[in-house]
Subunit: 186 residues, 2 copies
């Protein structure tokens, strides 16, 4: 790499925030990750906090894009749920750092950005809930006692994936999606 871009800095920040946490990452360590001295980062970014905002924003956008695509695809409740699940797995496995930072480090943000994340998560959860309701109505999914709980439990399973799943090994991404789908609908 000949030059370092603002995006390079944000990506590296995502890597370290995901691995060590926001408070466990210093600007000097982040600089070292890029072959720079810490203070050089301030020509690309105004503050450490701004980096967290950018990484979290990126994570949020990825999840939002995924849910929009899944809902736009149409189909019955079961197939939309399947799309939500595979879309979520794609986000979480192709963008592990931004996704993990979004999921784990948002609590460090100031109240304003934290509330934005909370709202975004609620919309995301609502999409799962809507799809469970749709599937119950159209008969493609078993009726669950409470679609809100079904949504929370499904997201609990999905969000934990980066904590244990490693793409090598016997279980590939499609197997995993299928296993989750059948676990949450069976």
């Amino acid at each position: 790499m000949t030059q370092t871009s603002r995006q390079d800095v944000i990506d590296a920040a995502g890597r370290l925030f995901a691995k060590r946490g926001y408070h466990g990452t210093s600007m000097r360590k982040l600089g070292k990750e890029l072959g720079l001295v810490g203070s050089s980062l301030y020509s690309h970014v105004g503050s450490k906090e701004e980096l967290l905002v950018e990484v979290v924003r990126h994570g949020a956008a990825l999840f939002e894009g995924s849910v929009d695509k899944a809902r736009a695809g149409g189909g019955d409740g079961a197939s939309q749920l399947r799309n939500l699940i595979t879309g979520h797995l794609d986000v979480v496995l192709d963008n592990r750092d931004a996704a993990s930072t979004y999921l784990n480090e948002a609590s460090v943000l100031d109240a304003d950005h934290r509330n934005q994340v909370r709202a975004e998560r609620n919309r995301y959860e609502q999409a799962f809930r809507d799809v469970y309701d749709l599937g119950a109505k159209d008969g493609s999914l078993p009726l669950s006692a409470d679609s809100k709980l079904a949504a929370i439990f499904t997201l609990s399973v999905l969000n934990a994936v980066p904590r244990w799943y490693r793409p090598l090994g016997p279980l590939d991404r499609n197997d995993l999606a299928e296993a989750i789908f059948s676990f949450v609908t069976r």
Copy 2:
């Protein structure tokens, strides 16, 4: 409180580690939480790291106690799974701070303690897996395609509970246990 005990310090550390994370908690803030100056904590504890070790050890012991009790209770697979679930919820809801620190901050530990936690978690997961296998054999649970995945997914749901569940509100602890049991076995 007239005097501060070592246990008081560990408890307060659990509270702050759970809320702000290990790296987000300074010894001075921890002192303030107890009405002390930061340096006074060193008459109760050798280092900040030692506090994390103690909190995590406590969390691990609680989960271990819970699983031992559930397995000792006997019964068929379904009833042992029910006991594992209610036991886990009891730990996580009655000891939120130690449980959350155990679940979220163990990555900060040195390699040795981190490996201990990993081993303990594997044993814990294995207990869930064994119970799923037992239930499949004795007919009390539907056979799942893969008991290891069933264990991971169930623990994903359980471990996420402190992130969203608030004991006030319409859903009490028994409702929650029942909802989770039926979600993971239905």
